[in-house]
């Protein structure tokens, strides 16, 4: 049965995380999740909006949620945890009548509060399920040792995000296990990568992200699997910057979980965008293919 969900790609999907967006669409299509892109969607305001004005931030998110209501849908999925955090926080705050009125005053069309926002990860777990995912695997990732990294805001604060365990989430672990990979125990799975401090304070990101990669290597991981465009960029693009403070020359692929899902389900690489990654996972993946055949 095909399930329809509104889809909010978020701005990163048009730029730094195009491979996340591509692979998400390809995998959902294969698994019977019909993602309907919100027509004329706009930026969620990211960190600048909510650090400047809560009602502005809420209005930017609520505009998109109101568009979902116009589409006649009651669920929206987004690949980006930062967008998700803004969508969820806005909905949460708008449950308060005074705040809702203030925000709706800024909008052409008021948001009625009927849309449930979720991450693509949550949609895949709850609307598809790991059993279906496992059944669709064409070339299992046998022997691949992976460290799942959730980032700091995907599940927190738990009373707003309402999905998985805030300190020890396991949803991505379960998907990777369903793909046949080996999930290594990764204690820093919800730590901060340094996020947008990569621009003003590079040393902070170098320290935090470096620690994450070192920990993943210590745990025996051959690749880090992520669900956040920001984390992916810091961990992948900056590996050379991380090398000096960490004292390690990192060369570890950082891939989106949707890319690995698509790969395991036999989707063509043209739809998964592995070539967009800085550290190429090609060697690892070809090893998996060889092992499978």
């Amino acid at each position: 049965m095909i399930k329809q969900l509104a889809y909010y790609p978020g701005c990163s999907s048009l730029g730094t995380s195009r491979e996340y967006d591509m692979s998400t669409r390809a995998v959902c299509e294969l698994l019977g999740l019909d993602l309907k892109e919100i027509p004329d969607w706009s930026c969620c305001g990211s960190s600048p909006a909510h650090s400047f004005d809560h009602s502005l931030s809420a209005a930017l998110s609520a505009r998109n949620l109101a568009l979902v209501e116009t589409m006649g849908l009651d669920m929206v999925a987004t690949p980006c945890p930062s967008c998700l955090s803004n969508l969820k926080t806005s909905s949460h705050r708008m449950q308060r009548e005074t705040f809702r009125d203030k925000v709706n005053l800024l909008l052409d069309k008021p948001y009625m509060g009927s849309v449930k926002s979720m991450s693509v990860l949550q949609a895949l777990i709850e609307q598809v399920g790991t059993d279906t995912i496992a059944a669709m695997v064409a070339q299992p990732l046998t022997g691949l040792k992976l460290a799942p990294f959730y980032g700091c805001i995907m599940n927190r604060p738990s009373e707003i995000m309402e999905f998985d365990d805030p300190e020890n989430p396991t949803s991505m672990d379960r998907i990777l296990t369903a793909l046949g990979a080996e999930v290594v125990p990764f204690p820093l799975k919800v730590e901060c990568c340094g996020a947008s401090y990569g621009v003003p304070f590079k040393d902070i990101v170098a320290k935090l992200s470096g620690k994450l990669l070192s920990c993943a290597l210590d745990a025996g991981a051959e690749a880090v699997v992520v669900a956040c465009p920001m984390c992916q960029m810091n961990l992948d693009l900056r590996q050379k910057q991380l090398a000096k403070p960490a004292g390690v020359n990192f060369e570890i692929p950082v891939v989106y979980f949707t890319q690995l899902m698509g790969f395991a389900m036999g989707l063509p690489e043209s739809r998964l965008g592995f070539d967009k990654l800085c550290v190429s996972p090609a060697l690892l993946l070809s090893r998996t293919l060889a092992a499978a055949s």
């Binding site: 365990d165 805030p166 300190e167 020890n168 204690p187 820093l188 730590e191 920990c215």
Partner: protein
């Protein structure tokens, strides 16, 4: 009726914001009021004498005192009225302190409100009738529920007072949490050495009947005459034959039973005596891991038992006991530390609770008193203690302070340095709470003599790195982050209500707070009584407590029981419900709503009717507000009386 009204100043407590003289003047105009006056302290001896004198000299037949809450002094004034020859129920109290003077500053408004409350009291008193108590016999036996140190103390004190005691314990041995401790603060004396003799006294005292592996099933009856049903669990060992020799444990081939006494550090045999000093020292089979029960064959214990005590066919039994009083001493449980995901307990074997650490320190524990990491058995050199885990944390629904963690953490820091002199000990704390005799001095010793490094701040996260654990936290005094590489992390887990405490409270018909701790009758003045007559509290079931406080409360509860049992007859409270059989239509709604099961259905000339069992009714009044016919009436609070009060208040 000739009514006297006494308006109390309560020093300046009432007079400060209420014109008591004006209230008294107004009261003189109320119906049937023959005398109204104000007094400095009505509850004082001259104040009471003035009431007695007025009754005698002016021929008064009812008294209203406008003063504090009836919870404070209703009994005082009832006794005064009685001394003057009136029935004690020909008295009413208007609460013009808690309900008026303490909550408002507007003197005129307060005076008006106080006047209205007095008018209500007068109108109610005009409809009062004398009430008389019945006398009934007392069964002079006491049930103590829980064999921790509080229950042990209560049982021994009652038994020494010459009363029969039934002590029930759900585990196979008494001793409770204290039996699991290695040492006790602030004297660092051996816990089992000071508790052991008391446990032996329990076993040997002729007045104590000890029932281990037994739980309370139900309670019926009332103060002086409770009937309790006890469920004795199947132990699969005939305790009349078992000598506690332990041969069965040596030979038992199944070593997969969870070791509850050792706080689940490791496993134990399916047939088990939990510890060497157990009382009673009897074996119990855990059918969840016993091969006989799982696979239908084995029987090793039955073969080796020299007295033939093994009985695989044993069934649980229900026993009944008659008692006159009940002491609940069911203790507490340790907070489940795996609920705090960021500390990783449950995932990381070397993140343990303080009570587990206590078992590692204990000579009779799983490591023979050598501190070893659960993961690899290595001796830890850097040990981090984290305080307030599951205490003072609103996000976990545990906003209260558990009270004893600061002290036992200091003790464990000292013992750690005694056991491993070259170890380093860090303690993360929020505040040090050590307000007991020699307590603060003790925590200072941990820091100054034993060199434990105290860091004020919370721990954010614990995660493994190699064979070590990184403990990341804040040092709020230095205003910086700290990371410590630890070999072992000990979480000072807070106290929470014992499993099943709310269910037990409902059986005992006593109140419990939102956290499951039992509620005392008054937090200061009635700390071991409950609002159910004849049921008393001792120890941590009432709230987290250390050993000295638990023992003191055990003795206090015993003193209350002995005072109760010093009377041969008890008087019932006549403020109970009655059903007017002419009005009752037999709908049975009161039977459904009565929380005490005090109303039964009877057959009256072929018609169903409700009847109140006078000895069981607690006078709560729920039936009177349920009854659609107004047939159920609560003596001293009849519909007529309450409507008279409402009319007095709403007369404009």
């Amino acid at each position: 009726m000739r009514i006297g009204v006494f308006v109390c100043h309560c020093g300046s407590n009432i007079e400060g914001t209420v014109d008591t003289a004006a209230v008294a003047r107004a009261a003189l105009g109320f119906p049937e009021v023959a005398l109204a006056t104000d007094a400095m302290y009505t509850c004082s001896e001259p104040g009471q004498d003035a009431i007695v004198q007025a009754i005698r000299e002016k021929g008064l037949s009812g008294i209203v005192v406008a003063s504090c809450s009836p919870r404070m002094h209703e009994n005082t004034f009832r006794r005064a009225v009685e001394r003057a020859g009136l029935n004690r129920y020909m008295f009413e109290m208007a609460n013009i302190r808690e309900h008026v003077s303490w909550i408002g500053k507007d003197r005129e408004a307060n005076t008006n409100k106080a006047t209205e409350l007095v008018r209500m009291a007068v109108e109610k008193l005009r409809r009062n009738t004398p009430l008389f108590s019945n006398k009934f016999d007392v069964t002079k036996r006491v049930l103590v529920i829980g064999g921790g140190v509080a229950g042990i103390q209560a049982a021994l004190d009652c038994a020494e007072g010459g009363k029969e005691v039934v002590l029930v314990e759900r585990e196979s041995s008494i001793g409770g949490k204290m039996a699991k401790l290695d040492k006790t603060f602030p004297t660092v004396d051996c816990s089992s050495c000071i508790l052991g003799p008391k446990m032996v006294d329990v076993a040997q005292h002729p007045n104590i009947k000890l029932l281990a592996c037994t739980e309370l099933k139900s309670v019926g009856g009332y103060v002086g005459n409770f009937q309790v049903e006890l469920r004795k669990k199947a132990t699969y060992v005939d305790w009349t034959k078992c000598t506690g020799c332990g041969q069965c444990m040596e030979k038992c081939p199944s070593k997969k039973s969870e070791d509850r006494f050792n706080e689940r550090i490791g496993v134990t045999t399916a047939i088990n005596i939990p510890f060497p000093q157990a009382i009673p020292k009897k074996a119990v089979i855990d059918p969840a891991s016993c091969r006989h029960f799982l696979k239908g064959k084995c029987g090793v214990c039955a073969k080796v038992c020299p007295t033939g005590a093994i009985d695989y066919e044993m069934k649980e039994e229900v026993l009944t006991e008659q008692v006159g009083a009940i002491i609940a001493a069911t203790g507490y449980d340790v907070f489940d530390i795996s609920k705090i995901g960021e500390y990783g307990a449950g995932r990381y074997p070397d993140v343990i609770t303080s009570l587990q650490y206590e078992r590692l320190l204990s000579a009779s524990g799983p490591t023979g008193g050598h501190i070893k990491r659960p993961s690899d058995g290595a001796e830890p050199k850097t040990i981090v203690f984290v305080q307030c885990v599951g205490s003072r944390d609103k996000s976990l629904g545990r906003p209260y302070c558990s009270g004893f963690c600061c002290m036992y953490t200091a003790k464990q820091a000292i013992l750690t340095r005694d056991h491993i002199p070259d170890s380093q000990v860090f303690v993360f704390y929020m505040d040090i709470r050590a307000p007991g005799k020699l307590y603060d001095e003790f925590t200072r010793r941990a820091m100054e003599e034993y060199g434990a490094r105290y860091i004020r701040g919370r721990v954010a996260m614990v995660y493994p790195q190699g064979s070590k654990y990184i403990v990341r936290g804040a040092d709020t005094l230095l205003g910086t982050n700290v990371e410590i590489e630890a070999d072992l992390v000990v979480l000072a887990a807070g106290a929470e209500a014992a499993a099943g405490a709310p269910a037990l409270a409902e059986k005992l018909r006593i109140s419990y707070d939102p956290y499951g701790f039992f509620v005392e009758s008054h937090p200061k003045l009635r700390p071991v009584e409950t609002n159910t007559a004849g049921v008393y509290l001792a120890g941590s079931c009432q709230g987290p407590k250390d050993i000295p406080s638990s023992v003191a409360q055990g003795s206090a509860a015993a003193a209350k029981v002995l005072a109760l049992f010093s009377k041969d007859k008890l008087e019932s409270d006549p403020q109970i419900s009655r059903v007017d059989i002419k009005r009752c239509v037999g709908c049975g709604k009161c039977i459904l709503t009565c929380p005490y099961g005090a109303i039964k259905k009877i057959d009256f000339r072929g018609e169903p009717k409700a009847e109140v069992v006078a000895t069981v009714c607690q006078g709560c009044g729920i039936c009177t507000s349920t009854c659609p016919q107004g047939a159920a009436q609560l003596a001293h609070f009849t519909d007529d009386q309450i409507l008279a009060e409402v009319n007095a208040l709403c007369r404009f």
